[in-house]
């Protein structure tokens, strides 16, 4: 069973040093912007979202998670032509949810990470669509095949990415 219920005392809480906290989200934004242009298929991935989930789950702090999500989401919005806040709101919700889950569940292994990412990608898309259609009046169409493919692609990438980012974890 990949996801195990653990008590608060059993769960490891990690922190990251400042350069990693700043540089990893910026690098994710850069790669997202750069690789999506060079390799158009890459736009199916959402690296900033994966970074939000990783930091939120590792820190296990709801406030920290939502602030991380909020800041990364707003930075992501800054690269689009859309009003600031569409990604911001979606990532805030994901950051809060992922950290809440991290407090209760041990999501350190690959299977758990795959399922968690799959779930939060869906949450992200639902919130994003709701905000974009409801508040910004964007004419977005929900495309099931695309969303499912994107969710699985991001979940696979998350397993690899989280394994890389694990090296920067510091025990508290």
């Amino acid at each position: 069973m990949p996801i195990t219920y653990t008590s608060g005392e059993q769960i490891e809480v990690y922190r990251f040093n400042l350069p990693i906290t700043v540089l990893v989200p910026l690098l994710a934004l850069f790669l997202q912007a750069f690789l999506s242009w060079k390799l158009p298929f890459f736009s199916i991935f959402d690296l900033p979202l994966l970074v939000v989930i990783f930091f939120a789950v590792a820190r296990r702090s709801q406030v920290g998670g939502m602030l991380t999500g909020s800041i990364i989401g707003l930075l992501q919005d800054s690269l689009t032509q859309l009003p600031l806040g569409v990604y911001g709101i979606a990532n805030t919700v994901v950051g809060y949810g992922a950290s809440s889950l991290g407090v209760r569940l041990d999501v350190e292994n690959a299977g758990a990470r795959f399922l968690v990412t799959l779930f939060f990608f869906a949450v992200h898309e639902i919130v994003y669509f709701s905000v974009a259609r409801g508040l910004v009046r964007l004419d977005l169409r929900w495309n099931w095949p695309h969303e499912i493919a994107a969710a699985f692609a991001n979940a696979v990438l998350a397993v690899l990415l989280f394994a890389m980012l694990d090296r920067f974890k510091q025990r508290t």
């Binding site: 910026l26 934004l29 850069f30 997202q32 912007a33 750069f34 999506s36 242009w37 158009p40 736009s43 199916i44 900033p48 709801q62 406030v63 939502m66 602030l67 909020s70 707003l74 930075l75 992501q76 800054s78 690269l79 689009t80 032509q81 859309l82 009003p83 600031l84 806040g85 569409v86 990604y87 911001g88 709101i89 805030t92 919700v93 809060y96 905000v131 974009a132 508040l135 910004v136 009046r137 964007l138 004419d139 977005l140 169409r141 495309n143």
Partner: protein, 426 residues
């Protein structure tokens, strides 16, 4: 109450953060209609990201140049040979097109058209994208430093790309035409039907607001109409790929963009457009009839004229010398190619003497009016000698010159002189 807030502290913060963002979103959505200023967070993000992108693109470009210019030269000789052939072909085309352009220029003068000139463009390199398939924007490496402004059109040699939406110090954000928030005026090249070019949520391109009773075929080219006030008129947009019935009695026309929007590398930003009335002075002093007459088929060069024709004066000598023989001329005039004879008489390359004016009315007028000097020739098709004489007589007679003077092109052209009898009599 305090206990409640303490107990639900995290949820309260979440609600607060979300509320702040929703509020901010509402303010921005309202402000979009007004004059939106670039928020500081955008400036910071773009300032942090774009130098890295510029660096990588520069490095990639340098490595690519090193590889392609100094190491990987396979097939270059063949390519060079092919390109030279292509240049020769293009030069031939250029001559033809320039004649067409000059003629169109005169017609524009007549009709009082205004022309748009791309008087200034800035070349820019694409360095990145918005990173989302829901927001089709790219970043270019020129910004305020190159005096770019929002709403400036961005193009490639293939067609339109989009418009500048935000300008930063050393970069700018370009909204692609296939973004759903994008729009441009477009016109179908053949049918001249106008519509609105819009992006779709999945990054496609459609032509909207074209009535469903219009006949549009896949493959029709779409150009900018200039009606949006951003893109210059007549720039390639793309090709119609699919036409189907849409809603509200409009057609659903899908378009394949002329520029490959998924592989943009270098683009041009049009920083200055001028609109002015075309002036005849710009087009030079050449008359449209001269251009037309040059375009007509000509008779090949021949050795100097036979002594029998040499007494007819300089022009007569030249005119007849250009003809292969009296019988050939008779053949032409008799109906096979009347225009070719007229062309031969006026083609500067064929005649060393100044241009004759007599055949010009044939060139400038519709076929019905062609036989200004031909009637006598067609009346006696069997007599080659008579025909040649008649033609050369006409060519030297100033009388047929008059129609040229009255032709619209000449009359509208204050600088173009009417046909000069003295040149005819040389």
């Amino acid at each position: 109450m305090e206990n409640l807030l303490t107990r639900y502290r995290n949820v309260s913060i979440l609600v607060g953060v979300l509320f702040a963002q929703i509020l901010g979103l509402a303010i921005q959505v309202r402000r979009v209609k007004e004059n939106e200023s670039t928020l500081l967070i955008r400036v910071w993000t773009v300032t942090a990201i774009t130098p890295l992108e510029k660096g990588i693109v520069g490095l990639e470009s340098g490595m690519g140049n090193l590889w392609h210019n100094y190491i990987y030269l396979r097939g270059v000789r063949k390519e060079n040979r092919d390109l030279k052939q292509e240049i020769q072909q293009l030069r031939l085309n250029e001559v033809r097109i320039s004649e067409d352009a000059q003629q169109a220029h005169r017609l524009q003068v007549l009709l009082g058209f205004k022309e748009q000139y791309l008087s200034k463009t800035v070349a820019a390199q694409v360095i990145g994208s918005g990173g989302s398939d829901r927001s089709r924007v790219v970043f270019i490496d020129k910004g305020d430093d190159a005096k770019l402004l929002p709403e400036m059109p961005v193009i490639t040699a293939d067609g339109i790309v989009g418009k500048v939406v935000r300008v930063f110090a050393h970069s700018a954000q370009v909204l692609l035409v296939n973004d759903e928030n994008s729009g441009a005026g477009a016109i179908l090249e053949k049918s001249r039907l106008q519509g609105i070019l819009k992006g779709t949520p999945v990054g496609g391109l459609i032509l909207d607001k074209v009535m469903s009773d219009e006949q549009i075929q896949p493959g029709d080219r779409v150009l900018t109409s200039g009606g949006d006030g951003i893109f210059p008129k007549g720039m390639p947009v793309g090709t119609v790929t699919q036409v189907s019935k849409g809603k509200d009695s409009f057609l659903n026309i899908r378009i394949k963009p002329a520029a490959d929007l998924s592989k943009l590398e270098e683009v041009l930003v049009i920083t200055k457009q001028e609109e002015k009335e075309p002036s005849v002075a710009d087009a030079g002093n050449e008359r449209a009839s001269d251009i037309l007459s040059r375009r007509l088929p000509s008779v090949p060069d021949q050795p100097p004229a036979a002594p029998a024709h040499s007494g007819a004066g300089a022009l007569k000598t030249n005119a007849t010398a250009a003809l292969p023989s009296a019988s050939t001329a008779a053949h032409s005039i008799a109906g096979a190619q009347p225009a070719s004879l007229a062309g031969s008489a006026t083609t500067p390359s064929k005649l060393s003497a100044p241009k004759t004016t007599a055949p010009r009315p044939r060139a400038t007028q519709p076929p019905a009016d062609v036989p200004v000097s031909a009637p006598s020739a067609t009346e006696n098709p069997g007599n080659g000698q008579t025909i040649v004489k008649t033609i050369t007589d006409d060519a030297t007679t100033p009388a047929p010159v008059k129609p040229i003077v009255k032709s619209p092109a000449s009359s509208a052209n204050p600088q173009s002189k009417p046909a000069q009898p003295e040149s005819d009599q040389q």
